[in-house]
């Protein structure tokens, strides 16, 4: 099968263009539908990996530390992200506990793990074992990662409760907020650039050779 690495097809309307070199921070948009066609190469894999590992540390803190603590008449109660999901595991609502755990904990965890795995090898210009399924998985997981919705949910819940009980924030909420920012930074980069950066297959010439 013939391949055309010098071309780029718009994902949203199927228009075909010649690839062009972009400077850092530049974005190429489709002339027909204005969707993003190409982003500038995210550049330094080392920096990307460092950010991913930072995200892993923050993720750990967000999962272990209590997020919110409430007190009522001298009794306290605090909860972590896991306990939020677990609270839905009651009676007929129980399937929703799995959904909640997925969108605020498990999908972000999978994103961090897969990205770290892929990037550790990409540093040396190599494709990690399972590179293709890992990138496919990362693209599929992205819409189901909802830490930012979780943060808004925590805020709304606090406002709901603040008239009823005394609310204090735990370390977990700061870690979750940091997780939200870092995850956006690492997971919204152009993954397809990794294909070009690790290109060694003689059947598919690299972009620079075209």
């Amino acid at each position: 099968m013939n391949v055309y690495p010098h071309l780029v097809a718009c994902e949203h309307c199927d228009s075909v263009y010649q690839r062009c070199a972009l400077a850092a921070g530049e974005v190429a948009r489709c002339r027909r539908c204005e969707a993003v066609l190409q982003r500038a190469n995210p550049g330094d894999v080392n920096r990307w990996l460092a950010l991913t590992l930072t995200t892993a540390v923050v993720f750990l803190i967000a999962n272990v530390c209590p997020v919110v603590r409430i007190s009522l008449n001298g009794t306290h109660r605090e909860a972590t992200l896991w306990e939020f999901a677990w609270a839905l595991a009651q009676g007929s609502v129980a399937p929703l506990a799995i959904v909640a755990a997925l969108v605020i904990i498990l999908v972000p965890l999978a994103q961090i793990a897969l990205l770290s795995w892929v990037l550790i090898f990409a540093r040396a210009g190599q494709r990690a074992p399972g590179f293709a399924p890992a990138l496919r998985m990362l693209a599929r997981l992205r819409p189901w990662s909802m830490v930012e919705v979780g943060i808004l949910g925590i805020l709304v819940a606090i406002i709901k409760l603040v008239s009823l009980v005394e609310v204090t924030l735990g370390a977990g909420v700061w870690a979750t907020a940091a997780l939200m920012v870092l995850l956006t930074v690492i997971a919204h980069r152009d993954l397809s650039s990794l294909w070009d950066q690790t290109e060694h297959d003689p059947k598919v010439p690299s972009r620079s050779a075209v």
Partner: protein, 211 residues
């Protein structure tokens, strides 16, 4: 301004996973894998429109119990009361928290309803290969993709509140079946938006178009 060619004009197809543009091979019933990443190459996602319609209808049906049935049960000193999503928003409004009432209203009523209408519009016009407002419809699709998942807000609010307010005998909040239906609405509309292939919006321009 001359318009760029469509992939079908050049008989190529772009891989949806890795972005490589490959030669289009017509093999009915069997998708050719991308030579670089191995994901199946499709000119259009197979049965995308039918699948999106089915998922959208499922979501609309789930939206009824999601609004009618209670999402949360509060028991305060032995007295219990259940509330629906709208009652939750109204409660914030009457207590003076207009901003939060608005956020809840947008996430739980405005966004899902707008998604239903926009997806139905996109599906109906794409099916007819309409050439009406293609660029605007393309933007609408991207908007739906971008805002859709914020509806999960209600589910997570119930989770947080139910996890915290558990003082045995004093006050206790627990989730109710309505929130399960609401979660299903969010999941099904997201799946419907993913099944729809936005390239269908431009089908009307490909044959006999001005491209």
């Amino acid at each position: 301004m001359n318009k760029p060619p469509f992939a079908s004009d050049l008989s190529v197809v772009g891989c949806h996973t890795c972005g490589l543009v490959c030669e289009h091979q017509d093999t009915p019933g069997r998708a050719v894998p991308c030579p670089r990443c191995g994901s199946p190459l499709h000119h259009r996602r197979p049965n995308g429109i039918a699948r999106a319609w089915a998922l959208l209808l499922t979501a609309v049906i789930c939206y009824i119990p999601a609004n009618v049935l209670p999402v949360m049960h509060t028991s305060l000193l032995g007295r219990g009361s259940s509330s629906t999503i709208m009652e939750g928003a109204v409660e914030f409004w009457t207590s003076g928290s207009y901003g939060i009432a608005l956020v809840i209203f947008i996430a739980s009523v405005a966004v899902p309803c707008a998604k239903f209408l926009i997806l139905a519009l996109l599906l109906a016009t794409s099916q007819r290969r309409s050439r009406w407002a293609t660029r605007e419809r393309a933007k609408l699709y991207r908007m739906v993709e971008f805002v859709g998942y914020w509806s999960m807000l209600d589910v997570l609010v119930v989770a947080v509140v139910a996890a915290l307010v558990q003082f045995q005998g004093l006050t206790d909040i627990s989730p109710r079946i309505g929130i399960l239906f609401f979660g299903m609405v969010v999941i099904f509309t997201m799946l419907a938006a993913m099944s729809f292939d936005p390239r269908h919006i431009w089908d009307g321009e490909i044959n006999g178009g001005d491209a």
